[in-house]
Structures are given as C-alpha cells and as structure tokens.
Amino acid sequence: MSGMFLGATWEDVVSWLPDLWAGFLISLRVTFFSLLFGIPAGLLLAIGQQTKARSLRWLCLTVVELGRGAPALVLLQFLYFGLPSVGVSITSFVSAVLALAWATGAYTSEIIRAGLDAVPQGQHEATSALGMSREDALRFVIIPQGLRVAIPALLGFSILVFQGTSLCFTIALQEIISRAYDIGNTTFLYFPALAVAAVFFAAVCIPASLLVSYIEQRTGKHVQR
C-alpha cells in the first residue's frame, strides 16, 4: 500500500529518510557547538559591558550590536564568503558555528544581562559587607542567581538557534534543508521533500517549546513565592 503525497509515495519518503537524518544530525551538531561557544560568550559580553574599562566596554557593545543588528544570514555569508577574500579559508561547518555562536553571544548577552540585573541590590551589598572581591561576588553570588533567572529565556533562544541552522543552506552546508532541496532538485518532488524536513523541525521544536513554557511557569512560581 503506497499512499500518495503530492506525487511522492511512502517508498520515496522512506528512501529519503537516511539522507535527511544525516542532515538533521549536522543541524543538531551546529546547534550544539553554537550554543557551547555562544552562551559563555554571551556571559562574557554581558559582564564586559558592565566593566569600568571604557575600551573593553565599547568592544563588547560593538560585538553585541553587530551580532544583533545584522541578519544572521548576513553574518553567515560575511564569514563564509568574506574570510577567504582576506586569505583565511574555513569550512562551511566552521563558519556556520562561528556565525551562529556570534549571534547567540550577542542575543544571550542581553538575556543574561537582564538576569544579572534581576539579582536584588541587597545581594550586592551583602557581598561588599562580607568583604568579597568583585570577582568573587560575581562568581559565587551574582552569576549563579542571575543565570538561574535567565535559563528559560536561554532555552527559548536555543530553539531559535536550531531553527537558524536552516540558513546554512546558503553556505552549502549539507544540513537537512540543503538535502531536502537537493532531493527536490533531482526528483522534482519539492513539496514532499521539504515537508518531511519540516516535520523534523516540528518534532524537535514543538516539544521543546512546550518544555520551555513549562519551565517558565515553574520558575515564575518560584520567583513569586
């Protein structure tokens, strides 16, 4: 029994799955590394924007504004097509991770800054009353509390990063959308191929956003108490 789906049979769809799965894994890997480098960068940028050294503050601010102001697509192409023209050539995977980590750092720095700002003033006063250094205060008191506040928003942003990996189509990275597009190109079954790829995204993003809103509600309760 082969159901038809805009010209594609189930056999077609099944035959595409290994290829799409391989692309899906690349999308996940790009997401993982972008977050791995991007979120710590966001923390550093958030702290960097609050330091007293003016040059460092401006540097952090510039990195953040560039990462947030330019479309992620342009960041990707800037690194992938731009760096070779100054003699640095990087693979599409590396430029994907660099660009998405840059965007992640820029956006999460704002999320983390809001989290750090949410730590009550009394906590800062308490650290100075205890004679803690600024570094120790940040490390042991402010950052642990601030990050906890930021977690739901960071998780929500992680979903967007995963969705953002679809942009890597434009730099010839063999992620899931490139593969679905190639299948469409050879079979002319664009709709079913892209729809199957879309199902992969939905299968990750719908449960993930439900989880995020659940966590949001729980932390919300915690704050209210």
Binding site: E65, L73, Q77, S166, G184
Partner: protein, 214 residues
Amino acid sequence: MIVGEFRQLLTGLPWTLALMSATFVVGALLGLPLMLARRSRFLPLRLLVVVIFAIVRAVPPLVWVFIVFFGIGFQLISMSPFVACLAAFGLIAAVNMAEIYRGGLLAIHFGQFEAAKALNLSRWHTFVDVVAPQMIRVALPSSATYGIGLFKESAIASTIGVQELAYQANYLAQTTFRGLEVFGMVGLVYILISLPIAWLSRILDRRIRARVAR
C-alpha cells in the same frame, strides 16, 4: 568603485522595505481574525488554531519560504519570488501578530469587561468600542519591535532571488570577489537602518504607554 558598489547595494533597499511593510500589513490584518479564532468558544476551532500556531512557529522561516516557492510554486501554482516570500512571511507574521494581540487583550483589566456588561453592550460593541482600542495600544510597542525584526528577517528572501539587500550583497560578492567588504557593508546598512527605527519605536512606546488606561 566603492561608491558604485554601494549604489548597487542600495538598489535592494526598496525591495527590503516593500517586503517588510507588506509582510507587516498582511500579518497585522490576518492576525486579528486568527486571535479571535484562538479565543473562540467553539473548542474544535480553538484547538485547530493552537495546532496551526505551533506548526507555523516550529518550522523555520526559510523552510516556509522554500515550501511556498519550490513546493507549492513548482508543483501547484507558479508565483514570483516576491509573492512567495510575502505568502510565507505573511503566514508567520499573522501568527506572531495574533499572539501579540492576545497579549494586549490579556493586559486589559477585567473591570473593563464588567463595565461593558453592566452597560449592556453587545459582544460586538464590547470588542469594537471597549476592548480593541485598548488592546491595540498595549500591543503597539511589541508590534513595532516585531516590525523591526521583519526588516532583518526579510534577508531570507535573497535565497529565492528577491532582489533585496542581501541578494545585492551576494551578487556583488560574486562579481567583485571581495566578500568581506561587501557583506560588511550590507551588515552595516542593516544596522544603520534599524537603529533609528528602534529609537522611534521606543519614543512611540513611551507615548502610547502614557495613554493606556491602567
């Protein structure tokens, strides 16, 4: 040379602005009935809308653009890249605007509904004369922020050949082999244009907030 390239780049700006504003108009108009359907008393309709919202948001914009342009465009109804982009972005914008409107509606004090009921206003008049004006004011700042986001989001249209800013940058990078300058330049154009819009919306936000009844 640089000036000529910059001019070439800016030929994309009208397309970017056209796509952004058309998307916003489609989203703002379709968002309202969608939001009402989301709050319908008829459970199956409500569930259907919730499912549609979840699916629209779970699939990345680029994938929607491809599904419309290559999937529907190639196999069912052929359409221009601009129309395909507008359809895909319009769908996403309608869902997001519906959620923004809903946020505005939730912010309205329940006393307003009680007062409307006490005055024996019909459901229609309650919505049109009491709820909608307040809802739109509360929703305006988020709508403006969302509109600015569309300015950057529209770069995705370059992937299917809408000749907007990012497309021009691609074209220039391929013809001049100086990707770093070209993409750096287009990145700056995006930033320089979104800064004043962000500034305007912040002013607008402050003015409107001052006028919303709390």
